[in-house]
C-alpha cells in the first residue's frame, strides 16, 4: 500500500473545538456521523436500539472529548468508543461474552471450523449475524465503515496481521454461508 498524504481531518478540528467548549462543533460531529454509527450498530447485530447505542457513543465522545489527540484519526477514536458501547451492550444482554467464547473455542479447535450450514441466497444481515463477533466487527469496519486494515487494527487494538487473518476467516465463512466456492 502506498503512503498517501492525509488531507486535513475536518473532524479532528471539530473535535478540538468541541473539547474547548463549542457545542456547535460537537453538534456538527453528531450530525455528520450519526447515520454511519447507527448503521455500524445495525450491522453489528443490534435490533431496534441502534439509535440509543449511537446516542450513548456520542455521550461518551463528549465525556472523553479532552482525551482526544489530533494525531489520531477521529474515526478511529469514535469507533473505538462505539465498539466499547457495543461490548457493554453485549455484556448487558449476556450475549457478547457467550458468542466470543464460542468463537474462541472454534478458533482453538480448528482454523477452518467455522462451518455454518450452507444456504443459498442467505439474507445478508442474517449472514453477518451468523459470524462470530470478532469476525463480524472486522467486516463491518472494513467493508461498511470503509476503514483500511490499519485503521481497523487501531480501532480494535490488534496487530495488522490479525486484521488480515480475521478478514480472511470472515470471508471464508461468508462464502460458506452464501454457498460461494
Amino acid at each position: 500500500m502506498e503512503d498517501a498524504i492525509e488531507p486535513p481531518d475536518a473532524n479532528a478540528l471539530l473535535m478540538l473545538q468541541a473539547a474547548q467548549g463549542s457545542e456547535e462543533a460537537f453538534t456538527e460531529l453528531v450530525r455528520t456521523h450519526q447515520l454511519n454509527l447507527v448503521n455500524f450498530f445495525k450491522r453489528m447485530g443490534a435490533s431496534e436500539n441502534c439509535e440509543d447505542l449511537a446516542q450513548e457513543t456520542f455521550v461518551r465522545l463528549f465525556r472523553y472529548r479532552r482525551s482526544y489527540r489530533a494525531s489520531a484519526r477521529f474515526t478511529t477514536f469514535l469507533y473505538h468508543l462505539a465498539r466499547n458501547v457495543w461490548a457493554d451492550h453485549g455484556r448487558k444482554v449476556l450475549r457478547f461474552e457467550k458468542l466470543t467464547a464460542e468463537y474462541e473455542n472454534q478458533l482453538n479447535t480448528s482454523s477452518t471450523a467455522i462451518t455454518h450450514p450452507v444456504r443459498e441466497n442467505a439474507d445478508i444481515q442474517d449472514a453477518l449475524d451468523r459470524l462470530s463477533p470478532k469476525l463480524r466487527e472486522v467486516i463491518v469496519l472494513n467493508i461498511y465503515q470503509g476503514m483500511r486494515y490499519q485503521e481497523v487494527a487501531d480501532v480494535l487494538g490488534i496487530p495488522l496481521g490479525t486484521v488480515k487473518s480475521r478478514i480472511n476467516h470472515a470471508l471464508a465463512a461468508l462464502k460458506e454461508i452464501f454457498n460461494e466456492h
Binding site: V30, N39, Q55, F62, L128, Y144, I167, N168, L171
Partner: protein, 389 residues
Amino acid sequence: MNTDCRFHDDVNAFLAGELLPAERLAFSAHLDQCPCCQAALDSSSRVMALLKTLPTATVETDLSAAVLSRVRASERKTFYRSTTIKAAAWAAAFAVIAGVWQMSQKTQPSAQVSKVIVNQRASHALDWLIQNQEADGSWNAERWGGQRNFAPALTALPLLALVSSSDQSSPDRLKILIRGAQYLRSQQNPDGSFGPFFHGTPYNSSISTLALLHVWQIAPDSIPKSALDAALAALAQSQSREGGWDDRHASYSICPITQWHLQALECAVQLGWSELAPSLNRGQAWLAKLNPLPEAGRNSSATEPSLLAQTGERTQNSIDFYQTYFEAIALKNHALPESEKLLAKLHRDILSHQIVEGPETGSWPPDDRWGRAGGRLYSTALAALTLEH
C-alpha cells in the same frame, strides 16, 4: 480449492488494495498462473459485491438534541460533585454519621428503599411542582406557605429541581424551564440582584442566578447573557473581604448563603466566566476554614457528643430539608465506607415524609425550621434535589 498456495492468504488483501507495492506485483504475476487464486479472487469479489448491497438504515430523528440534553445533564452532575461541595464534605458527612448514630440509638433499622422507588417518588415530586407552576412562569410563594419576599428563590428552587432531573428531553419540560427563567428575569433589579432588598436578598440572588445559569446552559437563547453578567457581578461584589457571604454564621450547617453563592460562581466559571475564578477560590478557602475536624474525621471516635450536638435534631418526626440536601451532596461525593448506606437511609427518611395521597401527592409538608419562610415549594424542591443524589 488449493489453500496450500502460499499466496492464498493475500487474495482478500489484494482485492482490498491492502498489499504493499512489491507484494502486489508479486501477487499479480502469480495470479496469471494460479487458477486457485483466480477462483478465490472471483469468489471474494462476488461476496464483497453482495455484502455491499445491504441497504443502509436511516436515522429517524437528528440525535444531536437528545445527545446534548444528556451531556448537559451529565455535566450538571459533575458540577455538583465538584470542589465547592468537597470543601464542606467532611463536615456534612460527619453530621450525617452523627445523625445516623443518634437515630440508631432510638429506632430499629428498617428496610432499604430501592432506587426504582426513589426515582418514582422523585418523579412524583417533580410532577407536583410542574402542576403548580403559574401562568407567568413563577411558583407562587404565598400560595404554598412561603413568604412573598422570597418569591425569586421559591421559583428558582423548583427550577433547579427540574433542571437537575435526568429527563430533559421533553419539549414540555423545556418550556417550563424557559417560562420559569423568564419570570426570574422579570424579578432582576438594575444592579443584577433579584427581588426586594431585605436580609434575604442574598438567597434570592444566588439561587436565582444558579437556576438561570442552568437553564441558560440548556437553552442559551432564552436568557440574554448580559442578564447573567449582571447577576454574577452582583454576587461577586457582595462577597465579604474574608471570602464568605454571611459572616454572622459560623459553621457549615448554618451557612447556606455562601454555599449557594459558591455553587453559582462555580457553575459560571465552568461555563466560561473565568474572571470569577479568584472570587470562587476565596469563597472556597473561607468555607474550608469552617470544615470541622477534617483530620480527626478519619477516627471513628469523632462521633462524639460535640458532633452530635452540632448535627441538629433530625429524627423520624422531622426533617431539616436544607441540611439534608447538603448532607446528600456530601455523601454522594465523599467516599466514606458508610456513604452508600447512609445515603440510602437519608432517602428513606426523606421519603417517609412525602405526601402519598390527596391533592398534594408528591410534595412534602414544610415542617422544618425554614418552612415558615419557604413553605411547601422550598421543602418539595429541596427534597426532590436530595433524591437526585
